[in-house]
C-alpha cells in the first residue's frame, strides 16, 4: 500500500516538476515547440498508467508530457527533444506534440484531435491477433468526443471486442469552448453505455481512486473481453497552449481554478503519504532526487549538439 502510493507520487511529482521546469526555462526561447501543458491532469495519467502492466501500450495527444513521463519515468530524451537536439526522442522531429517511446509502450501522440483513437484500436487488434495479452490505453480530451472518428472507433472496438481502454480526460474545454456548447447530449457515459463496452467514470483528483478504478476496469475487461470507456474529469490549469495562466481572457474564472486547485492531485497525494506515515524526510529525499535528475537532464539537453541539417531528410521511411 505504502510503496504503491510512493510510486504514484513519484510519477506525479516528476510530471509536475518537469513541467514547472519548462515554465522556468521557456522564456529563454530555446525550447521552440508549442507546449500543451498537462498540469492538473497528473492523477489520471499516473493512475491509469500505473494500473497497466509495464508492457501494456498507450497512445496520447499533443498534451502528453504527463503520459510520456508516466510511461518512461525518464527526462533526458524528453528534454533533449524539447530543445530540438540530436539526442532527443526523434532527434528534433517530434517536439512536444508527437512524443513517443515505442520500447516503453508509448506508441505515438497525435496533434489532430481524436486521430489516434482508431490507431489504438488497430494496435489492440494486433495484440489480440498475436494473443500476447497486452492492453492498449488511448488518452484523449473531451473535444475528441465531438469528432466522428471517436464514434467510429468506439463502434469498431465494441464490435470486434479488442482489448482497448478509451480514457477520456475531460477538462470541459475544447481549446476555449465549453462542452455544453458542443454536445447534443447530457452525459457521455450514458451514451457510451449503450455500446457493448464497460463504462467507468470518476471526477476526482485522487490518484488512488483513478488507479483503483482502472484496475477494476482491467479486471472486468479480462472477464468479459469488452473494451472499456473511462471518463475522468479534471481541470486544465494553464492556457490551451503555452505555459501561462489565462484567467484574464474571460472564458473562465480564477475562482473555478482555485476550487480545483484546493484538491491539487500532486499535493493531495503528498498529503496521503504523510497520512500513511511516510516520513517527511523520505518524501523530501524522493523530491530532491527527481529535482536533481530533471536539472541534469535540462543541462544535458542544453549542452547537446543539434543534428546536422541533413537530418531533415532522414526517417521519412523506416531507417533500415
Amino acid at each position: 500500500m505504502k510503496s504503491l502510493n510512493v510510486e504514484l507520487y513519484r510519477k506525479m511529482y516528476l510530471i509536475r516538476r518537469a513541467e514547472e521546469k519548462i515554465q522556468e526555462h521557456y522564456h529563454e526561447d530555446e525550447m521552440k515547440t508549442p507546449m500543451h501543458m498537462s498540469m492538473g491532469e497528473e492523477a489520471i495519467v499516473a493512475g491509469v498508467c500505473h494500473a497497466l502492466k509495464e508492457d501494456d501500450q498507450a497512445f496520447g495527444t499533443y498534451r502528453s508530457h504527463a503520459l510520456y513521463l508516466a510511461k518512461t519515468m525518464e527526462t533526458d530524451d524528453f528534454f533533449a527533444e524539447m530543445y530540438g537536439k540530436s539526442t532527443g526522442i526523434a532527434r528534433g522531429k517530434s517536439g512536444s506534440m508527437h512524443l513517443s517511446a515505442i520500447n516503453k509502450g508509448l506508441l505515438s501522440c497525435s496533434a489532430i484531435v481524436a486521430s489516434n483513437i482508431p490507431v489504438a484500436v488497430g494496435a489492440a487488434f494486433a495484440n489480440k491477433y498475436k494473443k500476447n495479452g497486452k492492453k492498449v490505453a488511448v488518452f484523449f480530451g473531451d473535444g475528441a468526443l465531438d469528432e466522428g472518428i471517436f464514434w467510429e472507433s468506439l463502434n469498431s472496438a465494441c464490435l470486434m471486442k479488442v482489448p482497448v481502454i478509451f480514457v477520456c480526460e475531460d477538462n470541459d474545454f475544447a481549446v476555449h469552448t465549453r462542452r455544453k456548447c458542443r454536445t447534443g447530449y447530457d452525459s457521455i457515459c450514458d451514451v457510451a453505455s449503450k455500446f457493448n463496452c464497460n463504462v467507468f467514470s470518476e471526477s476526482t483528483t485522487d490518484v488512488n481512486r483513478v488507479y483503483n478504478l482502472t484496475s477494476e476496469a482491467i479486471r472486468v475487461m479480462d472477464e468479459n473481453q469488452k473494451p472499456c470507456f473511462m471518463h475522468f474529469r479534471y481541470y486544465r490549469y494553464l492556457e490551451h497552449v503555452g505555459i501561462n495562466e489565462d484567467f484574464d481572457a474571460g472564458y473562465r474564472s480564477k475562482e473555478e481554478y482555485l476550487q480545483w486547485f484546493k484538491k491539487d492531485p500532486v499535493a493531495l497525494q503528498r498529503a496521503s503519504l504523510i497520512e500513511l506515515s511516510v516520513g517527511e524526510e523520505y518524501i523530501e529525499e524522493i523530491e530532491k532526487t527527481i529535482d536533481s535528475s530533471i536539472s541534469q537532464s535540462i543541462e544535458r539537453a542544453q549542452k547537446a549538439p543539434f543534428s546536422d541539417t541533413s537530418e531533415v531528410y532522414e526517417g521519412v521511411f523506416k531507417c533500415e
Partner: protein, 346 residues
C-alpha cells in the same frame, strides 16, 4: 508462360503472401462478401478464416487508422477500397497520421501497410465513383504510390508493396481487371521505383499511367502503320518515380507527351513536364504536352463521359500535332469500348 488476368494476379499475390507470412491480414468494406472486390479477394476467407479476412463498419477513416495501429504493432494489413472516392474519407489518417508516422519517431518504426484502391471509369459512374487522385497521394512525403498496368506488374508490385516496411497506396484501374498477360506462378517482386519501357520507339515518348498505357499502345499501333514509332514508358510507381527512364527516353526521342489517368491541372503530368524541363530541356524539340481528364467533375451520360476521358484517338491527335503530321483518317478504327463487354452495374 501461363496467361492470367490482372484480377487473378492480384488475388494470387495476396494468397501467396498470406501463406508465407501470417502477420498479413486483408480487410475492408465488402472484402469477404459474395462480390469479393470484383473477385480480387476470392478464396482468402476460405483459406485463412475470418480473423485474417474480414468486413468492417462503414468507417473508412477509422479503419485506416486501424491499419496504422496494427502495422506499428507487428502486423501487415492490406486495407481495400472499391472506390478511390471512398478512400478520400480517410485522407486525415493518410495525410496526417500514416505518412508522417516514421518521421515523427525518427525513422525508428516503419508502417508496413498496403491500401489497395480501385479506380476506374465507365458506365455512368459519375463524379463520386470515378476519381483517380494518385497525384494527391504522391504529393505527400512518406507514402509510396503504385499503379500497375499489366497483370505481371500487378502481382510483382503487390508482393513488393506487402513486403515493404512503409505505407503503399496501391491503385488498380477497374478496366484492367480483365486484361490478360503472362504471369509467373512463383511469387516474385517488382521493385517499387522502377519504370518499364512498354514499347520501344524513336520518334516520341509517351509516359502513361495505369489504363492510359492501353490507350497509348493502341495509338502507337495506329501511328506505327503511318511510320511513326512511339516509345511508351509506364512509370508503374509515381512515388518514388524512376526519373532516369523518362529522361533517357526523352533524350532519345526529343518529344514527350504525358498521358495521365487523372485531371491534368497540378497533376502527375505537370510533375513529369517539370522534371523533364529541369533535367533535359535542351533535348526537347517541342513543349511537353499533357493529356488527362477534362478539368470538370466526371459527368454521367455516356457521350459526355467520352468527352471527359482521353483515349487512343486523343493520343493520336496530340502526336500528330506535336510532330506536325497530317491528320490520320481514323474513321475505320474501332476504339476500345467498355460497353462491348460490360453492361453494368459496376
Amino acid at each position: 508462360m501461363r496467361m492470367i488476368t490482372y484480377c487473378d494476379a492480384l488475388n494470387e499475390a495476396m494468397l501467396q503472401e498470406m501463406e508465407r507470412d501470417d502477420s498479413i491480414f486483408v480487410y475492408g468494406i465488402g472484402v469477404p462478401d459474395h462480390k469479393r472486390i470484383f473477385d480480387s479477394t476470392c478464396n482468402i476467407l476460405e483459406k485463412f478464416g475470418s480473423e485474417r479476412c474480414f468486413d468492417t463498419p462503414l468507417a473508412e477513416d477509422s479503419m485506416t487508422g486501424f491499419a496504422l495501429g496494427a502495422a506499428i504493432n507487428g502486423l501487415r494489413p492490406i486495407h481495400i477500397h472499391i472506390r478511390m472516392d471512398f478512400l478520400l474519407l480517410a485522407m486525415n489518417q493518410i495525410a496526417n497520421m500514416i505518412s508522417s508516422f516514421s518521421y515523427g519517431c525518427g525513422g525508428k518504426q516503419g508502417v508496413p501497410l498496403v491500401i489497395r484502391v480501385v479506380i476506374g471509369r465507365g458506365w455512368g459512374q459519375g463524379f463520386q465513383h470515378s476519381k483517380s487522385m494518385h497525384a494527391a497521394f504522391a504529393h505527400i512525403p512518406g507514402l509510396k504510390v503504385v499503379l500497375p498496368t499489366s497483370p505481371s506488374d500487378a502481382k510483382g508490385l503487390l508482393i513488393a508493396s506487402i513486403r515493404d516496411n512503409n505505407p503503399v497506396i496501391f491503385i488498380e484501374h477497374r478496366w484492367l481487371y480483365w486484361q490478360k498477360g503472362e504471369v509467373q506462378e512463383e511469387p516474385y517482386e517488382i521493385p517499387i521505383g522502377k519504370g518499364n519501357i512498354v514499347r520501344k520507339g524513336k520518334d516520341l515518348t509517351i509516359v502513361a499511367t495505369s489504363w492510359m498505357n492501353i490507350e497509348a499502345l493502341h495509338a502507337a499501333k495506329i501511328l506505327s502503320d503511318h511510320g511513326v514509332e512511339i516509345e511508351i514508358i509506364d512509370p508503374r510507381t509515381i512515388s518514388p518515380l524512376d526519373e532516369q527512364i523518362i529522361i533517357e527516353s526523352v533524350k532519345k526521342t526529343k518529344h514527350l507527351i504525358v498521358a495521365d489517368n487523372d485531371w491534368i491541372y497540378c497533376g502527375f503530368g505537370s510533375e513529369v513536364a517539370a522534371i523533364v524541363s529541369e533535367k533535359c530541356f535542351g533535348h526537347l524539340k517541342a513543349p511537353v504536352k499533357r493529356i488527362g481528364f477534362a478539368q470538370v467533375p466526371c459527368p454521367t451520360a455516356r457521350h459526355l463521359e467520352n468527352k471527359f476521358y482521353p483515349n487512343a484517338e486523343t493520343v493520336v491527335r496530340e502526336v500528330e500535332q506535336m510532330l506536325g503530321l497530317s491528320r490520320i483518317d481514323l474513321s475505320s478504327e474501332s476504339f476500345y469500348s467498355h460497353e462491348n463487354r460490360f453492361k453494368g452495374p459496376f
